[in-house]
Symmetry: C2
């Protein structure tokens, strides 16, 4: 069924209206959602410390319309871009600072089990549609459209995430800071009636995983997919494994054989695999629903692989970016051009095997623009990296290269995969936390360095996204005596 | 006053008896101590999941005496070894599996402010005693006694931690596993009557810190000491800064000038420094009292620098090793030879600037021996790395080299400082967590790898101890469905 996202449907207008009504209900309901977040309750709803001072909040508010709008952006072949970010993309939505938007996001690994994660779901069917004659979303990745590099398919799978958007924020200009509040996160239920009330996700232990060339058991190397089940009703805060299988060559509808996992959205033929159901018995994975990718469009290149994160956010893969969290991004292009994707039901720090529990989610966000002119003297002045605020913590994100697109020259987007280093990401995270403490908290360098050693925790965000990540977490309570 | 730790005191026997009585009181009191731990309540007192199966516990119990003893090991010049571990050290105490011991530990940075952390404290005065004629603890570090390498002093400061012990566990042999339960941790109050009820610690932002060659402000480079105050009565769960100062050359009592921080226990001359009191105003550091160093004696060398950690534990610098935690160590030499030191009031993951809040503490421990013959088929079988259990988590410790003493050849103890790498430590932590999940939790490699990606958090323990550390944390609740 069209859910207001298929303009070719004869009932499109009615379906669209239903959508908007559902959206309104959604907006009223989002603060009482029972879906559990691992990242702590809303920073903005508890009156806790915030990087947005009351004066800055007042300035932002003064620039907003009195009446806020709440938009709904469904995921469909028309509203997503797959595997790349681009400042040239046509916005799917334009909104004003202060507006709300509910955004559907789809996992690019849904085709690991089409029956569980695609069939019967109009949005997913629209995005994943691929027959011998037609692919609804042709480009998948930042590579050439003619697949002249590796012959994998259009875009070559150089970048894999399905991103919904972009969203144009009116008035946003380079130098501004975009505040993005995550008000709610909901799993996308399976449309398969046999699995009512459940959602599913896929974890790929893939060739780009940290483990891949370091396996103990045969066959070596191998790629393994594990399918997980999540309670879509929010009553159970853990996921469980359903089955796993070893990847075997898959022939896509255009006839290309994918011996390894090298192109997103290739439908796995159930007849080709052997499912092992006796796995991870009684193991309960705590859920941490979050978005692996939230990006503003980078300025440096026209088409950017979604995999390596950077100053623009992107594929940070930090599980703390969930319900109740607020992100701050430096706006790099006019309109900011926000894209959201790579939804995860859960992930550990490091995302060791290459992916999380990749699981379609719908998020509700509020986007607030802070103009450069208002930022002087505030903690957000000069922010040039993606910064996270939760109810309890501030988190800075270091990468092997703070801005690989600018630092690594013309071949930056391939070069970054050869430079991956936790050591370098630790260096970057140290410098960013120092900058934060010296600038936003007005400490001297000596104060900042001592505090970092005794009160800041450095963790490994991910070791699988080319531009590897280290995050540094400082508790807000440290400053509660102010 | 002698506290039963000075055999030359004419009242030694009386003081010793007082000690033993105080110890008995201590034992009765330790489970109701109010001193706050950051690492979660006792794993062993809550009936939570434990790596010690009930069958293994029964076997260990059957090997113990019915009547447990509780010993008290004070810190004095006679009971500590400074800057090195050694399988050749004469034990300060012999005990049976199951016995309790309260151990005083002293921070090696107490001489950064002698008035606050040494004066009037007989144990600290005994250990730090150093005049132009005599040093009570001559050797400090694993270097040559004649200081023929750098002229810094006996042992050359190659290793810095004051360790109390070692303790000989009767019956312990290589291949066994030693379980060490941390029942209580108490700060050591200042003996200065002006500071009754307070304890103090020192944080050195030192030349081995991660920041040292990457400073923004002049003078570059510099070393800075920050003195912190802790509530010794346990009512306040945060520390605050008192003052800081830049290190200036200090002349030790033997006349050696220490232009940089290169030898432990050099008394800082208050007249030589400029104290800045206006620092870290209103900043509250959450306390996480723990022991940076708990070691069994390594087998590979006769005298081992305390700084780099390894399979024997040692200077792991993980703040989770506090009250309520249990450590498991592979016994490497007869009697295990347990040493405890490097007490910290708090530390962040990474210990960025080179040290924590270095603060003398007293801990109460129970030591339980698990014989190799009892381990078959249990989670502890074949354990060859230090493993931590808290109420909520299991934690494995990866290092740049799992065993630098064995892997780096004859010059291992200097070579390790040239090989430091978070990337390599991440690799080691991955392998150890995989081993734990496959062995202790009986998962296949594919199950273990998927679980690690979606449910295990990898963090940076320290980037300052030569053999850099990455820990991997898995929640016990993941297996609560068993």
């Amino acid at each position: 069924m069209c859910r207001g996202d298929d303009a070719t449907c004869p009932e499109f207008e009615n379906h669209r209206r239903d959508f908007l009504e559902a959206m309104d209900h959604e907006r009223r309901a989002f603060l009482k959602s029972a879906f559990v977040s691992g990242s702590g309750a809303a920073a903005f709803s508890t009156g806790g410390l915030s990087l947005v001072t009351s004066a800055l909040a007042a300035k932002a508010e003064a620039r907003q319309r009195g009446q806020k709008s709440h938009y709904y952006l469904p995921a469909s072949a028309e509203t997503v871009h797959w595997g790349y970010l681009s400042k040239l993309l046509k916005p799917q939505l334009e909104l004003e600072s202060g507006d709300y938007v509910t955004i559907e996001t789809l996992t690019h690994r849904a085709s690991d089990d089409t029956e569980l994660m695609i069939t019967g779901d109009p949005g997913a069917e629209s995005v994943f549609y691929w027959t011998k004659d037609r692919k609804n979303v042709e480009r998948r990745g930042a590579g050439p459209m003619d697949a002249s590099l590796f012959g994998r398919g259009a875009g070559e799978g150089l970048g894999v995430h399905i991103c919904t958007g972009p969203i144009y924020v009116r008035g946003a200009e380079p130098g501004d800071v975009l505040e993005l509040r995550i008000l709610d996160v909901e799993p996308r239920p399976s449309a398969n009636p046999e699995h009512a009330g459940r959602a599913f996700g896929s974890n790929a232990a893939a060739r780009w995983g940290f483990h891949y060339n370091d396996l103990l058991t045969e066959p070596k190397p191998r790629e393994v997919i594990t399918i997980y089940e999540i309670d879509a009703l929010g009553a159970r805060n853990w996921a469980k494994a359903v089955y796993n299988f070893q990847w075997v060559p898959q022939t896509d509808p255009f006839g290309v054989v994918h011996t390894i996992i090298d192109y997103p959205g290739v439908p796995v033929d159930p007849a080709s695999i052997r499912k092992n159901f006796s796995i991870l018995k009684n193991v309960r994975i705590p859920i941490r629903p979050h978005f692996g990718v939230i990006a503003v469009a980078p300025r440096e290149a026209d088409i950017v692989d979604t995999v390596p994160p950077g100053y623009f956010g992107g594929n940070m893969d930090n599980w703390r970016v969930g319900k109740g969290a607020t992100m701050y991004y430096p706006v790099a292009v006019e309109g900011a051009l926000v894209s959201v994707g790579d939804p995860h039901a859960s992930q550990g720090d490091s995302e060791l095997c290459g992916t999380a529990i990749e699981c379609s989610l719908t998020g509700t966000f509020q986007l607030i623009l802070h103009k450069k002119a208002d930022l002087a003297g505030t903690p957000l002045e000069g922010l040039d990296f993606p910064m996270l605020e939760t109810n309890d913590d501030w988190v800075v994100h270091g990468f092997t290269y703070a801005n690989h697109l600018a630092e690594l020259g013309a071949q930056a987007q391939s070069e970054i995969y050869r430079k991956s280093s936790v050591d370098a990401a630790m260096r970057d995270a140290f410098r960013k936390m120092r900058q934060f403490l010296m600038h936003a908290k007005r400490l001297t360098e000596d104060e900042a360095i001592s505090l970092m050693s005794v009160g800041v925790d450095f963790g490994i965000t991910q070791v699988v996204d080319g531009n590897w990540g280290v995050h540094a977490v400082i508790k807000k309570a440290i400053f509660a005596g102010d």
